[in-house]
């Protein structure tokens, strides 16, 4: 039955509604596989087998009562990035600070998934507070890339991408602040989408950088991505930044043929430093899209070179503020043996946060300080506006922008841990979409000479998820179904 775990969500759904397999069987198969392989991949931080089986039983009751009641997610086993709050299940954010934090509420996306009958297998590893590009910043342990266990899965949603590739969940949720869904999806050979800012509620997503964070699906294929997006999207009165806009049925965008679609290639993204294997894979993918009927044009995003610098002002500034609440007073870690209040704060935050989180809190605190605010935060906000305008201009000439996701394929564990700047550059192609608030998707498009997957990034204008899915779907069609999962 291990082939059950190789199936996509929509394939599994077919079996479930035909009652060829029960949701409990599916859940048990996944739990067994986790038991077998997760000691190597280490994608999970917390397993919730009891909850999973209870939810699976409920799904089976629903399926046997009336198949019409079932949704495409009924009985589908999922993993959830541990930055998304799950009522009654500890939510650590990959941090010692929240090692024992059990939220008394669930994120809106979790409520939606539950309402659609999804089954939660557990919580997935990540860089601490979503800060990192390799999942090595997890306070607990790094996650390994299922394609090569010596390599990182990318980050910060490394657990979410690795578990989908390792088939220890059918699909997962990640969060993307500067590429944290797309980059690990590329490194693990899965489909990962960062939706438009405001498309998916952030309520219950532990904030890293509030103006950039967005929850998104990580799946085996584009169809699954559309199915998941259908469920998690939509206005939420509990998130003032979510946008009241109807949610289309995204599966309707999955149609063959790209006639009438113009794909823009930003010249600033195809520059030196780009790994030749990556460049070749991306160009092959772009040709495949052309083969599906798309027209190619070159576009320019002239402020791309400032994106990383802008991001590393804005994101740490917001992070330094968002992480102020971890002070040892109300929940989470409180250091022992302090002299007074200030000492309690210092010891708690020194012990609770890892080095990368501390680094960003310091950068952010500095850039918001009086005397520096105008030169850093304010200036960065202005540059951010220019980057938004870059995309606005580019989307006058094209429907979708195609680009690499990351400059290289997955790097080795430990390779960049001592070089934060190199690590930051892993997100060079994904950061602009977060700064602009536009949607982006990573779709597998080839392998490098080491047999590691490479993703193609597609970006569209605000609320252009349908164009993205259509282009991504056509890429999948043109390149043949992605079926060679890593052995682990």
């Amino acid at each position: 039955m291990s082939s059950l775990t190789d199936l996509s969500v929509h394939e599994l759904h077919e079996l479930l509604i035909k009652r060829e397999v029960s949701a409990v069987e599916v859940a048990k198969t996944y739990l067994k596989r986790i038991d077998e392989v997760d000691s190597k991949v280490r994608a999970y931080l917390t397993l919730t087998p009891d909850q999973a089986l209870a939810q699976a039983e409920e799904a089976d009751r629903c399926l046997s009562r009336d198949v019409e009641e079932a949704t495409p997610l009924t009985g589908i086993p999922m993993g959830i990035k541990d930055v998304i709050c799950t009522c009654g299940v500890r939510t650590t954010c990959g941090s010692r600070m929240l090692e024992n934090f059990v939220p008394p509420y669930s994120a809106t996306v979790i409520e939606r998934l539950e309402a659609h009958g999804a089954v939660m297998l557990g919580k997935l590893n990540m860089d601490e507070f979503a800060m990192g590009s390799s999942t090595e910043n997890s306070a607990f342990y790094p996650t390994h890339n299922p394609w090569d266990l010596e390599r990182v899965p990318g980050g910060s949603s490394g657990g979410s991408a690795a578990s989908v590739a390792a088939r220890t969940c059918a699909c997962s949720l990640g969060s993307d602040t500067g590429g944290s869904i797309r980059q690990p999806s590329s490194h693990c050979g899965v489909v990962g989408m960062k939706p438009t800012y405001g498309r998916v509620s952030r309520y219950g997503l532990v904030a890293f950088a509030s103006s950039l964070d967005q929850i998104g699906p990580i799946t085996r294929d584009v169809t699954d991505c559309a199915l998941l997006l259908n469920v998690i999207s939509g206005y939420d009165p509990r998130d003032s930044t979510s946008i009241p806009r109807d949610v289309p049925d995204y599966t309707l965008s999955l149609i063959p043929g790209l006639e009438g679609c113009t794909i823009g290639l930003p010249k600033e993204y195809f520059v030196s430093g780009l790994d030749p294997d990556v460049e070749r894979a991306v160009k092959t993918a772009v040709s495949a899209l052309e083969g599906q009927g798309a027209r190619l044009v070159e576009v320019s995003l002239p402020h791309t070179e400032y994106a990383v610098a802008t991001y590393y002002i804005i994101a740490p500034a917001e992070a330094s503020s968002n992480l102020s609440r971890y002070d040892g007073v109300k929940y989470g870690l409180r250091a022992q043996g302090f002299k007074d209040l200030t000492d309690m704060y210092k010891k708690t935050r020194s012990q609770g946060f890892g080095p990368e989180v501390k680094r960003r809190i310091m950068i952010g605190t500095y850039s918001l300080s009086s005397g520096y605010y105008d030169a850093y935060y304010k200036k960065a906000s202005q540059v951010r506006t220019l980057i938004v305008q870059d995309f606005r201009h580019a989307f006058k000439d094209c429907d979708v922008i195609a680009a690499p996701v990351a400059p290289t394929s997955a790097f080795r564990l430990g390779e960049k841990v001592d070089d934060p700047l190199q690590m930051y550059l892993s997100d060079i192609f994904t950061i602009p979409a977060n700064l602009a608030g536009i949607p982006g998707i990573s779709v597998p498009c080839g392998m490098d000479h080491n047999g590691l997957p490479i993703g193609l990034q597609l970006m569209a204008t605000h609320f252009g998820e349908q164009s993205l899915l259509k282009a991504a779907y056509n890429l999948e069609l043109a390149m043949g179904p992605w079926r060679n999962w890593p052995a682990v």
Binding site: T91, Y105, A207, R238, D239, S324, D327, L341, Y345, Y373
Partner: protein
């Protein structure tokens, strides 16, 4: 050398919306610690604030009442500092673009009107409360107050004396009560005041070095703290020393101010726009609707009452102290159209009863109609003014109407002429000598005869009527 005080006030007013500014928790005071809380106001990970638009409405009302310009776009900013009563590590406030700016307020001190500028009004959330264990080095946090909406009203340094400062605060309190946006109670902390004060030689234009006074929680303490600070700074300056720019706390028990230490030292609050909240747009339709809902404000009411009813300034002061007082007055006049009489009775007798009973006009047991009924009975001669005072007191305590009390106790004046004539005849027959003396020209005897009639009627005869009828009978 003569010094002039330059005072600016920063006043925080708690708004009495039903729920908090960014979550649905109730704002009511006095609940068990940490029971009016939720993940949002406790600052748990991942939760988000959602603005209560009623707060904006209340704040706009205040801004309009003090003649401010209202910003069409409102941005909330985060103000950072670490303290256990601040669960997020930042307070959501407004910084660069406050709700309202450039307003003013007229105050009156010693019969002189002065206009005090309002620099800005902004919205923010309140912090929680710390309670320190007296026996152990342990503190407790109560987050019920966290997220209760506040407005901060910052004045220009236009205030020149402690008396003006108090007049300004009283005017603000009167306004928030008129607007129904706060109870403005300083002792309970729903109105809090920080004062910036500096001295300068009289006639000089520039400002001296100021100190900021905190922890002043009553009008009387505002007066005393400012007086103390003026004495302290004057002494320093006369002695050739400098005033240090610092924050000082008012110690009400010792009657002194002293410099603050520790967490209150100069802060870098690292303000930046809160990315969890979208800018609030205040369009003209919204503004118009709020403007239409505004009640008549004290100054306008005073002018109208004066014009409409011709009342004295003293009476107007009392009658416009609160909206309910003015409503009470007008409610009474509507049923008994003698404004001066009504005003007299409210300002003297009713106010005295309220003060004795420690009651506000809102909870006065005598309704405006009730008072009107009483005054009507004086007017038609059923009772005397003197009796009425006693009856009002009984009405106040028993909640009975004037008519009920008069009937139960048989207090109605005897005004029936035929009845009175019988008594008068009897008295004249009983005192023939006095009648003769009167008729001989000793008219003073009239008083004695009236007294006899009153005695016969046990005081219930209408004295005016008795006089009239007796004179007629004596001069046939």
């Amino acid at each position: 050398m003569d010094y002039e005080a330059v005072i600016g006030l920063e006043v925080h007013v708690q708004l009495q919306t039903a729920t908090k500014i960014f979550c649905p928790c109730p704002t009511t005071f006095g609940a068990l610690a940490n029971t009016h809380t939720c993940p949002v106001c406790i600052g748990m990970p991942g939760v988000l604030p959602v603005l209560n638009r009623k707060v904006v409405e209340f704040a706009i009302k205040m801004a309009l009442a003090v003649n401010c310009d209202i910003a069409p776009f409102n941005v909330f900013a985060r103000k950072h500092y670490f303290y256990p009563d601040l669960p997020k590590g930042y307070q959501i406030s407004q910084y660069e673009s406050p709700l309202a700016e450039h307003g003013w307020l007229d105050i009156e001190v010693d019969g002189r009107t002065r206009r005090i500028g309002i620099t800005r009004i902004h919205m923010e959330e309140d912090a929680g409360k710390l309670m320190h264990d007296e026996n152990r080095p342990v503190s407790y946090v109560d987050l019920n107050r966290t997220g209760v909406p506040l407005i901060e009203i910052v004045s220009e340094p236009d205030i020149r004396s402690p008396e003006e400062a108090v007049a300004y605060l009283k005017k603000l309190r009167q306004l928030v009560r008129y607007l129904g946006i706060s109870d403005g109670n300083m002792e309970e902390g729903s109105m809090r005041c920080d004062a910036n004060i500096s001295l300068r030689p009289s006639g000089q234009k520039g400002y001296g070095t100021r100190s900021e006074l905190k922890n002043i929680n009553s009008f009387r303490h505002v007066q005393r703290a400012l007086e103390y600070e003026i004495r302290r700074q004057t002494a320093l300056l006369l002695d050739g020393q400098d005033v240090v720019q610092e924050t000082r706390l008012w110690d009400a028990a010792r009657g002194v101010t002293f410099p603050m230490r520790g967490k209150e030292e100069a802060h870098d609050y690292r303000y930046f726009p809160d990315p969890d909240l979208v800018p609030v747009e205040i369009d003209s339709a919204w503004l118009t609707r709020i403007r239409e809902e505004l009640p008549e404000l004290p100054d306008a009411k005073r002018i109208r009452l004066k014009r409409q009813y011709g009342l004295s300034d003293y009476d107007l002061e009392i009658l416009t102290a609160s909206r309910s007082m003015a409503d009470y007055f007008e409610g009474c006049v509507a049923q008994f159209p003698h404004p001066k009489t009504v005003s007299n009775w409210i300002c003297v007798e009713l106010v005295r009863l309220l003060r004795q009973g420690d009651q506000e006009i809102d909870t006065c047991p005598v309704s405006p109609a009730g008072l009107a009924g009483l005054l009507e009975m004086i007017d038609n001669g059923t009772i005397s003014g003197k009796m009425a005072k006693d009856i009002l007191q009984q009405m106040y305590h028993t909640k009975k109407s004037a008519r009920e009390i008069v009937e139960e106790q048989g207090l109605a004046q005897m005004s029936d002429e035929s009845q009175l004539r019988i008594v008068i005849e009897r008295v004249m027959e009983g005192h023939p000598k006095e009648v003769e003396r009167y008729r001989a020209g000793k008219t003073k005897v009239l008083g004695f005869l009236v007294g006899q009639v009153m005695r016969e009627t046990r005081g219930q005869a209408n004295p005016k009527k008795v006089n009239e009828l007796l004179e007629k009978a004596l001069n046939p």
